[in-house]
Symmetry: C2
Subunit: 398 residues, 2 copies
Amino acid sequence: MFHLNSNYQKLDNPYFFTEVAKRTAEYSQRNPGQKVIRFGVGDVTRPLTKTVVKALHDAVDEMAEEKSFHGYTQPQGYEFLRDAIASFEYKRRGCPIGADEIFISDGAKTDSGNIQEIFAKDNRIALCDPGYPVYLDSNLMTGKCERDDVIYLPCTEANGFIPELPKQTPDLIYLCFPNNPTGAAITKQALQEWVDYANKNGTVIIFDAAYEAYITEDEIPHTIYECPGAENCAIEIRSFSKNAGFTGVRLGYTVIPKAIRAENGISAHNLWYRRIGTRFNGAGYIQQRAGAAVYTEAGQQEIRELVSYYQENAKMIREGLQEAGYTVYGGVNAPYLWLKAKEKMTSWEFFDHLLNRAAIVTTPGSGFGPSGESFLRLTAFGSHENTKEAVEKVKSIS
Amino acid sequence: MFHLNSNYQKLDNPYFFTEVAKRTAEYSQRNPGQKVIRFGVGDVTRPLTKTVVKALHDAVDEMAEEKSFHGYTQPQGYEFLRDAIASFEYKRRGCPIGADEIFISDGAKTDSGNIQEIFAKDNRIALCDPGYPVYLDSNLMTGKCERDDVIYLPCTEANGFIPELPKQTPDLIYLCFPNNPTGAAITKQALQEWVDYANKNGTVIIFDAAYEAYITEDEIPHTIYECPGAENCAIEIRSFSKNAGFTGVRLGYTVIPKAIRAENGISAHNLWYRRIGTRFNGAGYIQQRAGAAVYTEAGQQEIRELVSYYQENAKMIREGLQEAGYTVYGGVNAPYLWLKAKEKMTSWEFFDHLLNRAAIVTTPGSGFGPSGESFLRLTAFGSHENTKEAVEKVKSIS
């Protein structure tokens, strides 16, 4: 008789986004016709930009003709896209990353969940608390770790949501900056400390930089490879979802420098190359052309406007809720805001309060880890109109 | 110090398709200007069909407008596509599969490699020899099995490339019909025996039906769910690559009936749902619209023509090589042909013979398992012109 993977029983049940959906549906049933504004899941709402749309149409036309048809790609992704990324994201910033160290994928979530595959079971893992649930869950599901063996790095008001170096030495550290869920950003100087720590201890940093486009302050690095030495210890995961609105297109990439080697000399890069060669057939040609369009001059201008639109929302939420007497973090270098409950409320109580009183859906901070308790995550990805309306509603009940 | 996953060292090194590419490149270097015809990797060469191209353009236009923009999908895939699949592939054939049992993905290769995730480590796995390397490799890489623990099911000339029921009882069986690489197809009656065996023994069948569109004979089932009881024991993996030419678009799906439950009552369907919810963000909206277009009347007419084109190639190869005195299997219900060496040659010797004498690239059968020795896999996915030219060349050296 076959057996299923019992590690899945170690996951929280149900997944907390499911619980959010359930409570929202119940509210709508109790209040038919009431408009509900969603600050919850981090999905974008603006359409794709002109240059991207043109690139998509052009690529579809290529696929319609025998002479320009594209079948299987190399699983690593097309050179035209990897070259554009290497040049724009890395060479331009003086980072020693080559196009052959970049792997194109169908999105940062897939890469975040899959990256554990190339690591052994006996690594000690460190995770920010609160943090994106995929890091822990993907390691639990594959039996790579037990919940109690993880080194949690509390990110709290006291440390400005930037964790301290751990006392116990981890083998793998997941870091995400600008951060989901807190919206905190890390300075180059602070990140350099992590890079130096990792190189000293033989630790790999998995750096999730999906929200890089939202950085506004000069001292915040756009990639971990701005820190010298990161090319020896850091894997970086990037996305087209939040800069170019590709949540429904599906495109991302992961950088694994060739210099990251285990004690036995085997390179992490080669293992990932083998993994995707065996278990992935590459991102679609059409999406990869759309990705390349993002790196044209017009494409860059358009995504700056797109990001600005959401940044205005972030500012509106931040300032509006501060006026309503709330303590709000994030939203300056990130599309996320981290809202503290005024009274002694749990995250779920605070969630219910805003849902029932103001018809606003948020994400309970406790779903991201125990240090998220009493906070809510808000996202800046709505329309100006909805964002304004929601802020006014919160003000009116405060 | 971090450790990498040592299971990767259990894989064949290098991956045999890499060796094929290397020998081909060396040949071209020695013979500059010589046209090389590729019968190797199973990539299609015809462009996307009209109806699919229109659906892609329409979907791109939707993504360009705020009111019709699509962001994150449900990881399981859009209902419009799952409904079309359920109705066309299953209800029409009387199979008890609902749209809610279908999971849309970025391709059958990903699903073939990922499906082992939901199973425990202590399952005994049975694999056809020869077979698609992803089944074994994905299980080796995740430490789900050791090479020596696998129950191999020889598929040979003696059994018409249809394996016998194993003497030892496996917990998981990977079957692929129409078969890659042999091109053999299984009758409904023979497949029913496997389904009954699986239900009797508590075994799950992972049924790869990626080449279903090439079936021409009445007694060959188009899906395993044509066999009563399969809904209690079989997972089916399907593709849009070989029927609609989506190798560069990336779209596939997997059916996991809700009735497949382990001894403790947990359903395989729920585990997969949780897996993709955590580690996948769905296939892109644009591709899913293209997939739905395949199920329109015009779309169906077009893919029948597309498949016929390749089927003509298969016939041309089969008959031409038989005329040249070769024994050839497959190509009747499959896009693959299984060519036996005339003399006592290994697959690699036979590969080199055809490359050096006729400038034709094939795939060595031994790369698919020891029972593939002395065979080559040929694919029917080229142009008529190249296929004809290649067949003439083989004839001329025979």
